[in-house]
Symmetry: C2
Subunit: 444 residues, 2 copies
């Protein structure tokens, strides 16, 4: 795990120097929330916490970081000396990975000395923001596939290496079955999946020879059939399966272009007629949740999907209006009043209320309040150390995501924009604190 | 620079094992190109080459990588032993970073033994793809700003850490002036820029005290004025500038919310009336090239822009239909025939032709062909080593991007979709080779 001490915006360091010189080092609380859900999302799925907490625990300024900062010319030795001793020693509460959440709900709150809480701003926003974007998109793809396995093929189209590696992790939490991404699979222990590329077929003398060669080495392979002509490719698969007695082990064929609904129907019939009913059909190539929904509505006999670009970058909602804002300093509530960008003061908690097992509303309240419902923010770091009991496996996070998404109202879970927003209320005490704080800020 | 040997799709490794066992190790050429430009782009800007070449030079399988692969269970010892000796020893030609390019044009071609050329597929697509997405978006933002400085504020909204760090680099090549991203700035030597956050203002007793405190430490600061009320914030700036005699050094104010056109006009008048005409106005907050264009058309007196989310993820075109395809193996041209996904066979070159200094058409030709115009693909790696004379500074790439973009036809450079596509033709010899190859593949 790399040291991310320098992964910060320059203003964190100028502010840190100012906090250091002005002795503004009392306890601060910052709140992380999404101001407004992207239009094509009825809910978001919180993700990225575990990696973030590891990075925060490991944060320090070694010789390399200090030297780089010194070279920048803006920071004197007393400040750099102070950075050498810098550790994050604060507390963090957060929603579990895999928790669905909504507009303005704090998904994480940091309470630490002001410089510590400030320095991690960019890292928190970037890491929770991006993994939440990825998981929230993947949840839709998984829903569209209606129980059929979805494999992440996005490594090549992701926006950089970190996005690809952490993306595969987030997709898995959201219910994706496997990934093609070797680095991510081996780091996180995710199921790896791979078929073959067109280049393999093209490098062999004929498509049929390519299939024969590949099956000798990988008898359970998935064969890619669209390099030259999809249906001729299926015929080649059948011929090889029969001649080599390889049919029994053969797992699947993959369609990667053309009219996937029509081709899958034709291929299914050809395979069935050849006694290869156990051979599955995998579809890939420019798929997203809408395309998958249409294919299945159309009755396409597709057994599994490989999804790349659109899921890899969350193409219809590639960014989140996510903010990390000071809400308390030195025991006093704080907030912005900027137009259209309000922030809720104080240390908060989110309560989810259920009726007959279905989530019916969330209440954003002050942390000490006694409100009915499930408290979604849990202590995950105390005095700079991760809380052991909150370290969960990816499979546990994945199961939790599945259960808590299933508990959302039906209109939330659909792919289309829900006509009614999921109800999120603010507790009377929080509303009162907001009013008081606003008044105090306007009249001083 | 990390070792990216495992940043590959699983099928690269299954294919590599098959190539190894089948002795398919003759020389292959793969071509990298974008099938079709995203609708909102009239051109793309090639970017990411230098980092990619460093990664390829450094690629090897050490004990850690071998152990991880072994644990996966699919690979035997002879293959793993062979991977230990794996190096990329091939040749690469590529367009210079900062070269504008169009649909189907090869921007990079790899010629190496088949396994070497295959293994780097995912890395090449991911790295050139993402930096090209970033640079192509930033070129539009820079064009919209019409010479005013643009600062990258996107680290917090980028899709992961790699995207943020390499993004800042790509933005700089495309003409962005500075970045807020400390890690990227220090790694690549980019100009760093930072102002202050709302949290700093909120942590101080009053906004005015915050400005005073900050200016004592950073006399040339840019002060953020919208925490509570933008125009009251400007009044506080003026009061502090006068009372403290700090006005002369003060560099700028930053508007981050509200009606930026109206607020900038009011703020400009207030500053001018107070004798602070030298204090610049920086605008940020949800900006993209369209918003900047509208602000300037509206006559907003804004001197510089900070751009985050939309540039950070290239929100209107977050993905590219980029492909890396085998085009020659063992001296014989190869291609796919998949519907809608043709690939051009052979080793190629792209020639750009100019009239009166304006680019008028590109010709995709075979590499040996004698075609008029500027040859855009240059040898950048030979036998696995970077070509020294092709190592250029970021400033050189930035200048080259500026010059070659300025040489595009005017309709290409505008923000709106050009009514006529930039002309890209295929040479007669390449068309002939495509025809022959297709015929050979269909009739065998």
């Amino acid at each position: 795990m790399a040291n991310q001490a320098l992964f910060a915006d320059f203003y964190e360091f100028t502010m840190l120097r100012a906090y250091f010189e002005l002795k503004l080092t009392q306890t601060a609380t910052f709140s992380l929330y999404v101001r407004k859900l992207p239009k094509p999302r009825n809910f978001l799925l919180a993700c990225g916490l575990s990696d973030l907490l590891d990075d925060i625990e490991a944060l320090r300024f070694g010789e390399e970081e200090i030297e780089r900062l010194r070279s920048q010319g803006e920071f004197g030795e007393p400040f750099l000396q102070w950075l050498r001793g810098f550790r994050f020693r604060g507390d963090i509460v957060a929603m579990r990975e895999g928790t669905p959440f909504f507009d303005e709900e704090p998904i994480l709150e940091v309470t630490a000395s002001l410089p510590e809480a400030q320095l991690i701003e960019t890292l928190v926003l970037n890491q929770i923001g991006s993994q939440t974007i990825f998981a929230s998109k993947a949840a839709r793809v998984v829903a569209a596939a209606k129980g059929r396995p979805v494999s992440d093929f996005g490594a090549r189209r992701a926006q950089g290496i970190d996005a690809a590696i952490r993306g595969a992790r987030a997709f898995f939490i959201a219910g994706v079955t496997s990934t093609s991404n070797v680095a991510s699979g081996l780091i996180y222990g995710l199921p790896l999946e791979g078929t073959m590329a067109h280049s393999f077929i093209e490098a062999c003398d004929t498509e049929r020879a390519a299939f024969e060669n590949f099956l000798e080495i990988f008898p359970h392979a998935t064969l890619l059939v669209d390099t030259y002509d999809t249906l001729a490719g299926v015929e080649n698969v059948i011929a090889v399966a029969k001649s080599k007695g390889a049919g029994l082990a053969l797992r699947a064929i993959r369609l990667d272009s053309g009219d996937l609904a029509a081709l899958s129907r034709r291929a299914r019939r050809m395979l069935d007629d050849a006694g290869l009913s156990h051979v599955a059909i995998v579809a890939s190539g420019g798929l997203d949740e809408r395309a998958i929904e249409r294919l299945l509505e159309d009755g396409a006999p597709i057994d599994a999907f490989g999804v790349g670009s659109d899921m890899a970058v969350s193409a219809d909602a590639p960014t989140l209006d996510i903010a990390y804002k000071l809400t308390e300093y030195a025991g006093e509530p704080r907030m912005k009043l900027s137009s259209g960008k309000r922030s809720l003061p104080g240390q908060k908690q989110v309560f989810r209320q259920f009726e007959d097992g279905v989530a019916v509303r969330d209440i954003i309240a002050l942390r000490g309040e006694n409100v009915e419902g499930q408290a979604l923010l849990r202590p995950v770091m105390l005095a700079g150390r991760r809380v052991e009991s909150e370290k969960v496996s990816l499979v546990q996070s994945r199961n939790y995501a599945g259960e808590s998404t299933a508990a959302l109202p039906e209109e939330c879970r659909g792919l289309s924009a829900s006509s009614s927003r999921y109800p999120v209320a603010i507790s009377r005490k929080l509303a009162q604190l907001e009013e008081e704080t606003r008044g105090r800020l306007l009249h001083r």
